[in-house]
């Protein structure tokens, strides 16, 4: 296992800002073996529910298990795909509608590995990381538990 694959902090409190994404991109410009970056951003939709539109999602996680799951996904992705870098960030706490709760960033010499890794990582996160989301609905403080499909 390379030094670069050590466990990394994934969870951030609240939404992920576009500026944070920009800083992450900029920090890769010195890595001149990279030819392709694939970025996935999950944004909170204002879905209509009984009781009104979703105004945000309040995320919690079974944190220790989730960190381990993220670590396993990272290791598997580095094994499966020819990647130079991989970064995953996920929000905890309230993320309002229109803001970003998931940021997956993979970089590779060539586009194919970047595309494939990006999809793989997002699907793995959705299926296998114990993160829970309370969709806040309407004005009255109602909520609905979100479930990935």
């Amino acid at each position: 296992m390379e030094k670069a694959h050590k466990p990394k902090k994934v969870f951030v409190q609240g939404p992920i800002s576009p500026d944070f994404v920009a800083k992450s991109i900029a920090s890769h410009q010195s890595k001149t073996g990279i030819g392709a970056h694939a970025i996935f951003l999950g944004q909170i939709r204002a879905d209509q529910k009984e009781g009104g539109a979703v105004t945000g999602i309040d995320y919690t996680a079974y944190e220790e298990m989730a960190e381990q799951a993220f670590h396993d996904i990272r290791e598997a992705a580095f094994t499966k795909f020819e990647l130079t870098c991989m970064h995953i960030y996920h929000s905890l706490g309230l993320v309002p509608t229109g803001e970003i709760s998931l940021f997956v960033f993979v970089s590779s010499p060539h586009r194919r590995a970047a595309f494939e890794a990006s999809e793989y990582i997002v699907e793995e996160i959705k299926a296998n990381v114990p993160i829970f989301g309370k969709e806040m609905v309407g004005e009255a403080g109602q909520h609905v538990w979100k479930e990935n499909t």
Partner: protein, 70 residues
Amino acid sequence: MLAEIAGLSDEVWNEAGGLTVGQFRAQMLDKYPAMRDKKFKIAVNQKISDDFVLIETPAEIALLPPFAGG
């Protein structure tokens, strides 16, 4: 959401030993019948576990509602 049913988020389950995941599930649904309507997986020491797995004690058991990351 499961904690909302049980009214608490941590609970100590005393058992002499030899309980499988499936047996634990059955005992818990007896105690909290409203959970029968809920989907959840059981993690033992932070690993999702099948019903036939024997729970070593002490163990950290977690009921995990559907995942919603992303």
